[in-house]
Symmetry: C2
Subunit: 539 residues, 2 copies
């Protein structure tokens, strides 16, 4: 890092407010690679903003680890003040940026914690440490993780397996361990989404969910893991776009002074960065115009406004609110103080030098495999016996065929069944009905998990009716579910329990290898033989 942190007290008021803004940008180097043009500014626009608006940071999505390294170097060069560079890396850096270590979703750790809490804590610590190390290697200095929401609603479409589970104590312990692991490197961590997004059945990316629990319940459940994170000295807390009726009937938490200043800052004593969730999200964007949202968030106590609709408008709105006396400049200075504390941790730290070539170390990949193995669920009647002389299919169902990272021809979910004599049939939920007439014996592999913006947990009535039809024909001879334990629950109540099944929390290559190995009871020798053609990714 060549830029040194300047003295923020020398900034103009607008430059100060600029530091409170984090904008979204593409992780790709070139404008023609932008995947979300509505949210991600072009390079000329972005470099103009960084240079003239003195923005606090960027949040990046898209691109591989190699791209990110080059991209973060470029962005830091464009900016006169060293930037926060944030990313939603909740399942390791590899979840978003290929090449780095891709961990299973947090709920896999929660599963392990049920039988061995200290083992799960150990894994959560390692996950935090590896995530921070790899983030640093590519110039990410702000990890928007861990999620410390308590996912006690199986229909939650947006948190789901992104949470550590449904027990506040387990979520608290694992969240703390993640934060402590990450503290080995000068990167920031984030507990989210305050005061708890686990008990919703709608998606705040689309609408504003309402939480109707009383104060006692919130304090005895939702807040527990946030208190844990604050005790573990988490660097930032992200707000939720939720209406918490017991505390503020008017304003979503993100815009509520009662909640951000009254509860989080004063009552819980959090003295780090308060960052809003993305302000362009439906849950808050529908609430007021974007200028008013920016002012209200600062008024409520937010230090960082994440992804405002237009950063220039947001800065001007907050600037005008100060000039007209609605906000006082001390409120801004308080935030700048906290921002500088965080930036000093990042930039004035004696940096550990991590080479990009050191990502995804063998021991880190072993940790991933161990988490997957310990959190695997299986039926009693394994293995599925292969009858190699029959015509049989490997029916793979994905959520969205245009958006499935694991759809790579080398993936074990394709290659292992293929070597065992299964023909691949790949469909998504929209084309599922097209393959219902096929009566071949079927290995069914389902890759579906709750994802933001879908409005459901990836499992709708049309899909269920297709699964019913398929199960009725008695051709499904084996089942692997990757991702959602809630989908497993549905199957184990609806299907013939003679069907051998395996459930993995992950969807990545290692998940597929472990699940297929388990379903077919393949020995390591057999896998090794297969691997001469397939590489050693899954051994």
């Amino acid at each position: 890092m060549t830029n040194l942190l300047p003295d923020w007290t020398q900034f103009s008021l607008k430059e100060k407010i600029g530091q409170m803004i984090v904008v979204r940008a593409s992780g790709y180097l070139f404008d023609h690679q932008i995947l979300y043009p509505v949210w991600e500014a072009s390079n000329p626009q972005l470099s103009y903003w960084l240079e003239t608006l003195n923005l606090g940071g960027v949040i990046l999505l898209g691109g591989s680890s190699a791209e990110l390294l080059l991209r973060t170097q470029q962005l830091q060069q464009w900016s006169k003040t060293p930037l926060f560079i944030a990313a939603d890396i909740e399942e390791g850096v590899g979840q978003r940026f290929k090449g780095a270590t891709y961990f299973p979703p947090p709920m896999a750790l929660g599963e392990i914690a049920k039988s061995d809490l200290s083992l799960a804590i150990n894994y959560a610590y390692q996950m935090g440490e590896v995530t921070a190390k790899e983030a640093l290697a590519m110039g990410i200095n702000w990890i928007l993780s861990p999620i410390v929401d308590v996912n006690n609603n199986p229909d939650n479409p947006v948190i789901n397996i992104r949470a550590f589970g449904d027990s506040p104590e387990i979520v608290s312990e694992l969240g703390k361990a993640f934060i402590q692991g990450a503290k080995n490197y000068p990167t920031l961590t984030t507990a989210k989404h305050f005061p708890g997004h686990g008990d919703t059945s709608s998606d705040s990316h689309l609408d504003l969910p309402i939480i109707s629990h009383n104060n006692e319940r919130l304090e005895s459940l939702e807040l527990i893991p946030f208190e844990g994170a604050i005790n573990a000295k988490v660097d930032s807390v992200m707000t939720a776009h939720l209406l918490i009726n017991a505390w503020d009937k008017q304003n979503p938490a993100t815009l509520s002074k009662t909640i951000l200043t009254g509860k989080l800052r004063d009552k819980l004593g959090f003295d780090g960065l308060i960052v809003t969730d993305a302000l362009i999200m439906g849950g808050v964007a529908k609430f007021a115009d974007s200028e008013e949202i920016a002012v209200k968030a600062v008024e409520a106590g937010a230090d960082i406004l994440l992804m405002p609709d237009d950063p220039e408008l947001a800065i001007n709105a907050v600037y005008n609110a100060v000039n007209t006396g609605r906000l006082n400049v001390e409120r801004i200075d308080e935030s700048l103080n906290k921002i500088w504390q965080a930036k000093q941790k990042i930039f004035n730290h004696q940096n550990k030098n991590i080479s990009i070539y050191q990502l995804s170390q063998k021991e880190d990949r072993e940790t991933v495999k161990n988490i997957l193995k310990y959190s695997l669920k299986t039926s009693k009647n394994l293995p599925l016996k292969v009858t190699s002389n029959k015509s049989q299919r490997n029916l793979i169902i994905v959520d969205d065929i245009l958006n499935a990272e694991f759809l790579d021809r080398q993936m074990p979910g394709f290659t292992i069944p293929n070597l065992l004599g299964y023909d691949l049939q790949l469909v998504d939920q929209n084309t599922f009905h097209n393959v219902l007439e096929d009566n071949r014996e079927t290995l069914l592999q389902i890759f579906i998990r709750g994802n933001p913006f879908r409005g459901n947990a990836g499992f709708n009535e049309t899909a269920k009716s297709c699964y019913h039809k398929l199960l009725k024909k008695s051709i499904v001879k084996g089942l692997i579910i990757y991702g959602s334990p809630y989908i497993l629950d549905w199957f184990t109540t609806e299907m013939n329990l003679d069907i051998p099944w395996v459930f993995s929390y992950g969807q990545m290559a290692e998940s597929q290898a472990i699940a297929c190995q388990t379903l077919f009871n393949l020995s390591t020798a057999e896998l090794r033989e297969m691997s001469e053609n397939l590489g050693d990714i899954f051994i």
Copy 2:
């Protein structure tokens, strides 16, 4: 480049032979990303080879431009002697490595040349110049292009639209222009595949094709573009795994002294690098064991052995052949001399410094769009009128759903029809039959082109019968074919000519935008309005 070229005459015999070997490696940084484990060594193996065997170079596949930059830096560090770093970038660097400029296949230029040769020459020059500039930016110093085969066999499964066309004069002119354009940067060019792979109907990746033409025909057709390339001072010529009966009834060209030394070196006077095509390819690998192949190729006159089965075995085999007197050391030294001439061009040149951030410049992307526009073919009866109140589908057929680079949800071939009210239905040739019962009005988009290793030009009898069934139902209201003009030929003889159609040589985003804009006759204003959601990639 920090390593300086050492004095090769100080090398041991084995070190000299090592310089004659180019091995395949993954363009990705990490072993868990290797896509072709049979061909691509792990990093420990590769770094050992580079350090101890003094290998001449690597050929890279896989990874984005950003990854390539980091990868080539790593590989050069592992090697004591500066490496050739080659890539099969026949359609611009962006064909293989995302982020860089992706040109249409060479036959698009051949199409333009039919009506305006000087315009096509101009584009070929620019394509060579941009390809060399972008290759250099990421550390690639050997472009395995241009293809100067004359594709005069429509059933050619492996050359096809990778060639500039079926006229030796046009191929010659465009090949020369590409080479001259590339000479603006210190990267090597390659004329391939000597003495001409255009008139085959089998794939030398799988088997050894036989060419039965007599000497006069070869000299008056196949050799013309090679003579052109040699006149333009092409740096290297790649051999073909073909049996040329008129010249050598025993040995494939790659292993034939009559052809490599007699014809290419002595008769045509080529004094640059002779490089074999990949020695692991079926066309030559079936001919003898891998040691014998290595020795025969050197004996025949090859300077570089590309992708031998095992580089250590190949070096030892050639070493033993020298020690037993079958080869003399002058044959090796001749090759080292030529290798050093080439490496001096690359490494001792006053390098133009190209930043990775300068890839894919606006003017280069304009050239791509212009080539696509000038080479577009259309029916007379455009546009396809959109009847927005009807249920209609956008049926997209791809060759292999697990291997389609353009399958990105932002691609105009999906997004434009979607905005016009078409539902996406995406299948590959294996699942095509599943959607034949659907009777909705159909926009049919076909993304199929000849590709190596498939054994056919991507258009088999099963697929044809599906297309027949579809056409018979009279539901196809519009057709876009991306890639193969030979598939267009089939459709224009088999289908009702009232169906409006568009043909594009490219398959990338820009092709899709131009083809859809043309089919629906969208104005730039309409496209711009759509682009608020879609980005400006196709404006």
